[in-house]
């Protein structure tokens, strides 16, 4: 994975970058499977390695497949990245050991969900019951985000010009 990231940062041919990004997603999905997070792995493989790659290729087909070489030296961005990275790594020092059963994440609501999910909802896949039932508000928000993304893409790139000539359809655009 580290090699893929390095290659993505170095290669200027955007087709290769998209393919490497897809490989990275696939590797991430494999890591999730190893961690027993099958649902997340499924999503990562379908969305990260599948759809995003196709959409990125579509974007490249519309624009260009070469990255512009940088014009100035990038000291400030490099400093910001290193500082942020160091801060994040410093933050992980306080984190509980991997898989520690006494970690806060395993003490709060997770045991309640795991114990009560099947008696309360009779849904064998706890991930689904947490996602759709206990955390229903969040998921509604996520769906709304996807909806908004779709509307945004249509408004920006969709074929609205034909309609805009007619003045009475202005309201229709705003309601869409």
């Amino acid at each position: 994975m580290a090699f893929t990231v390095y290659a993505v940062a170095r290669i200027r041919n955007l087709y290769a970058v998209v393919m490497l990004g897809s490989i990275y997603s696939l590797l991430a999905a494999a890591v999730f499977v190893v961690l027993d997070a099958v649902d997340v792995a499924f999503t990562e493989a379908a969305v990260g390695a599948g759809i995003s790659t196709v959409l990125a290729l579509g974007t490249i087909a519309l624009t260009t497949d070469r990255e512009k070489p940088p014009q100035r030296t990038r000291i400030l961005p490099l400093a910001v990245v290193i500082l942020t990275g160091a801060g994040l790594i410093y933050g992980t020092l306080d984190m509980p050991r991997f898989g520690d059963p006494n970690a806060p994440v395993h003490q709060h609501v997770a045991p309640v969900y795991l114990k009560q999910s099947i008696p309360q909802t009779t849904v064998p896949n706890v991930v689904t019951s947490v996602l759709a039932s206990y955390r229903g508000y969040d998921t509604l928000g996520e769906v709304t985000v996807i909806f908004t993304a779709g509307v945004g893409v249509i408004l920006l790139l969709g074929n609205w010009r034909r309609r805009r000539r007619r003045p009475e359809s202005e309201n229709e655009n705003e309601n869409a």
Binding site: V38, F42, V47, I51, N125, S129, T139, T144, I146, G150
Partner: protein
């Protein structure tokens, strides 16, 4: 893309299985990994594959944009509608337990409907985004 016979035949062979697998992931999400998000993406991938091989115009004949636009509104409406239906039945917003005679059955129904809404929205948005990107011409400058 019109001359690659192998791709065209393999696409036609694979397409029903991709769509069937998407429906399986959608409706089996209660029991195995998967759910609305993944199923929606896989369903969309089926149509995107078809559009890649047979051209966006033919894919839009199968799935016109009007239906897609209707679809992704419908998904959100199903989800929010379930929540409001629960409110009307006297429960909290998105509390599925009041939806049926037993709480567990209500949860089942609620999760099923909500996942269906998620699936419809995700697949419609994905196909729409792809059509919108692929349907544009490269600006000639």
């Amino acid at each position: 893309m019109h001359s690659y016979l192998v791709l065209r035949v393999v696409t036609k062979l694979l397409l029903p299985f991709i769509l069937l697998f998407a429906l399986y992931v959608q409706f089996h999400g209660d029991y195995g990994p998967g759910g609305g998000f993944q199923a929606g993406v896989i369903f969309a991938v089926g149509f995107i594959l078809y559009a890649l091989i047979y051209g966006t115009e033919n894919a839009e004949l199968v799935l016109p944009r009007g239906i897609l636009r209707f679809g992704y509104s419908l998904g959100v409406l199903i989800y929010a509608g379930v929540g409001i239906y629960d409110l009307l039945l006297g429960g909290n917003f998105l509390n599925y337990s009041v939806m049926s005679h037993t709480p567990a059955h209500g949860q089942h129904l609620g999760i099923f409907l909500v996942e269906l809404g998620v699936g419809i929205t995700v697949s419609s948005v994905m196909v729409t985004v792809f059509f919108t990107f692929a349907g544009r011409q490269k600006p000639t400058d």
